[in-house]
Amino acid sequence: MSGLWTGIFCPQVALQAHLRLEPDFGDPERPLAVHDLCRGRERVIECNRSARRHGVAPGRTLADALAIAPELHSVARCRGAESGLFEEIALTAYQYSHQVALTGDGVVLESGGSRRMHGDMDGLLSAIAGNLEEKGLFVRLGTAPVPAAACLLARGRRHIQQLKELELTLAEWPLRKLSLSTAEMDRLEGLGLKRVRDVLALPRFERERRLGRELNRYLDRIRGRQQTPLVYWQPPEAFHHLLELPVPSARTEALMFAFNRMLQHLEEWLKIRDRGLTALEVELHPEDRGRVTHLAAGLGRPGFQRDRLLELLRLKLEPVRLGAAIERLVMKAESTLERRPPQADLWSGTNVNDAWPALLDRLRARVGEDGLSGLAPKADHRPERAWQWTAPGKTVTASESPPRPNWLLPRPRPCRIDDLRLVDGPERIESGWWDGHDCRRDYWTAHDRHGNRLWVFREYKPRDGWFVHGLFG
């Protein structure tokens, strides 16, 4: 396996998974920790600088930590959020290389092939780091000629391109810098081995007999003597993103912030899959396991603009009454289409083409799918069936018809003929024997006492009588 590999290491992953969902990454002065069940007790596994200043350190039991620093805010570790974080990093990495793999504590990607795209290695690395930072992720990057070592070097931000140099560097490393299990570490220390060099100095046969084949294989892999088996990561076929809010909230601003993060993720997924979004669905799961709130936003034209979607979601969220605080968000790309880049007007530079669908989307988000439509004639002689609501902007052709009033009543209203003066007519309409809505009518234009022009008819079938059906004017 030749080439150059970049490892992405995410320090304090549990803490970061929590903090990136808080605007401005929370207050740095607030002592914050993440705890987990560890050796039978709730223990602090990661904490921020402020907590350290208060004397809290990883490894302490939660009870101890709270005794030292009563103002400490500690949250339980959420493994789902962490793996979600790695998925997001992988998705970002996938934009720079098609060979991306998850290693459990980080992500590696093949970077030798794409470094020239960004000028040189430094350009590529700063592009990756910058992209992740925008999403609120702070990572360390390292480079090595073999994937297994790239992850190790990322922890110390080391960049080594030659295999020879890598071997020399690793030989000087203390063993605890490798990712070894506690049992393996104990055994090695029991033998009095401190550095990688010490282990390698043993004859190979002896090493395999005493330390097991697994460790030897690991040492060979990080030194590039043996290939690292990698399962390449693939972007998911469908977008389905789950987000646990660190602090359940019903505040619009907190939810909008989380939406923004999720949309960033969606944006990358769409870019990689080369799709345009047409419908988006968001589920809000409340803390008390109550009713799930659904928000749906549609785009008239496949595409993606984060600020526009955020605005649509805000419009949808505003009228919703959230009974309880929301603890979990699920975002789904309900439907996507092949992406067709919008075409800007060459002369004016503004994208008028795109602005009109955007306006309709915004209106639709508030008034509902049925609240906005176009109007079209329908081929039927019965006036109440001769019109229909359509999608706006649909071109329609209508056959020549006799004059009609400007307004139609939703349903004809009975009227007294004595109050009216018939002016013009009749127009006989007899139709509908085939669909059970058979009718026979004579339509007239009439004037009422106030001078309004009405469209009235005398019906013979199915009932007898005079009705108003429309208004001129």
Binding site: V367, G371, P405, N406, R428, D448, G451, R453, F472
Partner: protein, 216 residues
């Protein structure tokens, strides 16, 4: 003649000069009726301004009054929005008046009529907006907001109040009541002096008796 033209030109160039009664005609949309154009202060429907229509009853003639102008806009590929119309606009009649239905968007939500109208005006994409707000939603703040939104764009906004609605005193540049039968009372026109009744001939509909066949 030459000197007169150059004097006119000089006077027009000076923006700080106020000339009594000789107003610079603002860009206006022709109403499609010469009798009406002559009486309106701008010589047509004022662009980028609010026009209020008070029909005497539903369907007194406000749509008939606006149709020629709206039809002209749609033919120039400008979208026209109907917001919360009280009844169903008949597509055949609109086509007959020359309106391109592909450019017409109808919003059927009286609740958000003011909001929708404001969004349309702010976007600057619409040719004209016609709204029929529900009486209980009308207040001077909402109307003022609409007036401000209109001023940013080119599109005229027509507010057709429900019959019997007493609209708030507003800054609308034009307010007219539409009587049954189609005559118009000019109630208020900003910058113009003329108020009073304008008689319009609305009998431009082809009488039905002239048709040579009945639809069967």
């Amino acid at each position: 003649m030459q000197t007169r033209n150059s004097l006119e030109q000089l006077l027009n160039e000076r923006g700080d000069l106020w000339r009594g009664r000789r107003r610079q005609p603002a860009a206006a949309l022709p109403t499609g009726r010469a009798a009406l154009d002559a009486r309106l202060p701008d010589g047509g429907w004022p662009r980028g301004k609010l026009t209020e229509l008070l029909p005497e009853c539903v369907g007194a003639g406000e749509l008939e009054l606006l149709l020629p102008c709206l039809a002209g806009l749609t033919r120039r590929e400008q979208p026209v929005l109907f917001i919360a119309p009280p009844l169903i606009p008949c597509p055949q009649s609109l086509i007959h008046a020359g309106l391109d239905l592909a450019r017409l968007v109808v919003i059927r939500d009286a609740q958000h009529a003011f909001w929708a109208a404001e969004q349309c005006l702010k976007s600057g994409l619409c040719g004209a907006v016609v709204a029929w707000p529900a009486t209980d939603r009308v207040d001077d703040r909402a109307v003022r907001r609409l007036q401000l939104a209109a001023e940013n764009g080119e599109a005229p906004i027509f507010l057709c109040y429900e019959p019997g609605c007493r609209p708030p005193p507003s800054l609308a540049s034009l307010r007219l009541s539409v009587r049954s039968g189609g005559d118009i009372d000019l109630l208020r026109s900003r910058g113009g002096h003329a108020t009073g009744t304008i008689r319009l001939q609305t009998d431009n509909v082809i009488p039905m008796t002239r048709r040579d066949h009945a639809v069967r």
